[in-house]
Symmetry: C2
Amino acid sequence: MISVQKALQLVLNEAKSFWNENVLLENALGKILAEDIKADRNYPPFNRATMDGYAFLSTDVTEKGISEFSVAGELFAGYQFDKKVNTGECIKIMTGSAAPAGLDCIVQVELSTEIGNKIKFSGEIKPWKNIAREGEDCKKDNIILKEGIKLSPVEIGALAALGKKTIRVKSSPKVAILSTGDELVPVGEEVTPYQIRDSNAYALQAFFQSSGIQVTRREIVSDSPDSLKKVLGEIVDFDIVVLSGGVSMGAADYVPAALLSVGIEKVFHKIKLKPGKPLWFGKGSSGGVFFGLPGNPLSCQVCFKLFIEPYVRKCFGLDNQNLQSYPVLQERVKKVQLDEYFPVKLDNSQLEILQFNGSGDVTSALGSTGIALHPIGKGDVMIGDELIYVPWQFL
Amino acid sequence: MISVQKALQLVLNEAKSFWNENVLLENALGKILAEDIKADRNYPPFNRATMDGYAFLSTDVTEKGISEFSVAGELFAGYQFDKKVNTGECIKIMTGSAAPAGLDCIVQVELSTEIGNKIKFSGEIKPWKNIAREGEDCKKDNIILKEGIKLSPVEIGALAALGKKTIRVKSSPKVAILSTGDELVPVGEEVTPYQIRDSNAYALQAFFQSSGIQVTRREIVSDSPDSLKKVLGEIVDFDIVVLSGGVSMGAADYVPAALLSVGIEKVFHKIKLKPGKPLWFGKGSSGGVFFGLPGNPLSCQVCFKLFIEPYVRKCFGLDNQNLQSYPVLQERVKKVQLDEYFPVKLDNSQLEILQFNGSGDVTSALGSTGIALHPIGKGDVMIGDELIYVPWQFL
């Protein structure tokens, strides 16, 4: 059995770049940018009025001593002022307008006084007052967003400003989720007292969704080598295949053999982790990865967080998250010499260890914000000990 | 002018419950549960084998002193064992199976030895060893998830286990985003040197998306009282209408008057906030709310975070986020006697103040993880001072 750390290393070694695709900007939230974005023009694209007021040439006041101006016109945002503005003239200008060439000062409405048909200004008069100069935020052809960042609303706004109606992003990998087990019944169908519902597929799919990935195929496969082999044969070229159940030592645990039989190369089987010890991991000849997860709900979720999510992040070119440690509020007895993870609730920078009835408990992780690690080498955990915390959800 | 705090209070006063709707479980990630969920049966629903091994009655060993068992059959998960198991007999049993009535102990394969056609067990023998008992996780009809929680992958998994193919969740509000201004051009169309693109609508839409809300209508409206009035007339019954631009003091700022003209009641206009001072807020007769945001990109984003997001959270019944304070790495001069917000990058529990060229800078918030508050009453900020931090993205 290898350590969790070694296993993660072996999983990350198989990371590859997914394809790129073009998407409409309104569908790009949370996607990973797959191109550098250059400014298409200077920003601001013109000397922009930042106030509603009057625009004139500052030296008319500071050098020529003019104190009253006549209004030569009015300019609204979005329009060009095409008359000449002479010495001693100003124009009424609205926020967001392009200050006409030759004018370098705007005094806001509040500091401007009408005296007959003339305007007087108060406050300091200086060049570029209340004007954002062309190119002062960003020059044409400067790279303003680099390939590889995850797009938040702030970046979506900037991309819109730059006129990117469609952008190139990393595509989603092709993902299949197979739930194995004759005891499994699709959610929504009748269940006998000896059967359970296929809940892992839903949890795993939701985890993929929260990483921005839509699952291509989701299926229950019965515990028979032939059915497993048939379905696996249809998805050997997928990017990520996640199976749950059937990887342990029982007579119905056909998953490892079935994976080998369709040409998947085993990288490891069994790791020093609880829950999740029976984890199987292998790679296909076309670069896909195959995770055989144990069937218990919490085991599945822990394996997703510890292996599949970091794999996906690496493929997307995202850094792995820096995990933080927090003090725990309860003691915890060391149960087995494995890396043990269990549901916790992070509140006020402290970890509350939640009631937890084994990895098969369908309700065990409810109310938890993540899982904490009781490491393999450590004895019992005392109140206040700091444990590594893995939040269910990353940003 | 009212304070930001008072303004937020007035906005939150208008919060209302949105409708509820049924969605398929696979589409429920991130939605707010609108019903209490009860366990449909006991969990586990049967005495579940937690190991692959052999099941027998523990007192056969501890009281009757039997040390070798004959194998009376085999049981796989999902099936019922319908033969009687006699004293001195065991059955081979797979993880996840329902232990037959009368059997209360499972010894795992690894501790079981075949001797001829008999099986010997080692390790401690006791009742309910390696069996998760029916109902020990959760009893039928117990409430396991309460209305009002936001559904993460963990809850999606539990709902699937309970057979909830569809669930009742809070519906999205009906949202319209109107960008006002003759200078605005749709993203993707030709732009003259005096025009800019409609970037606010994209940023606002992405913010709504990240709160799980799809925007129903998005439109550019020209700076004319009639066009504004016409469009507003068509959406007076929407739940949330967000306008950007046109709320200041300029001659083209028709938004406040247009809102009043279609029967929207003004709650406040102008607040002690930078950027965001001209914010207009009102309510419609059918319970909708109307936000008139300033047109600068950062102003829009700050107003969304400070007012619209808290409003949406309250309507969904979510707690408002506890904002945390962090020490800053740079000094900052107090510029105006307003609550000032500016882009920062939270890293290693410290706030880096980012270069920021005014709220009109389309690139200003890039690279930031959120905004920090330089409060109205405070003088200059010194290195190490703790400032309230609002992350762009909440969980």
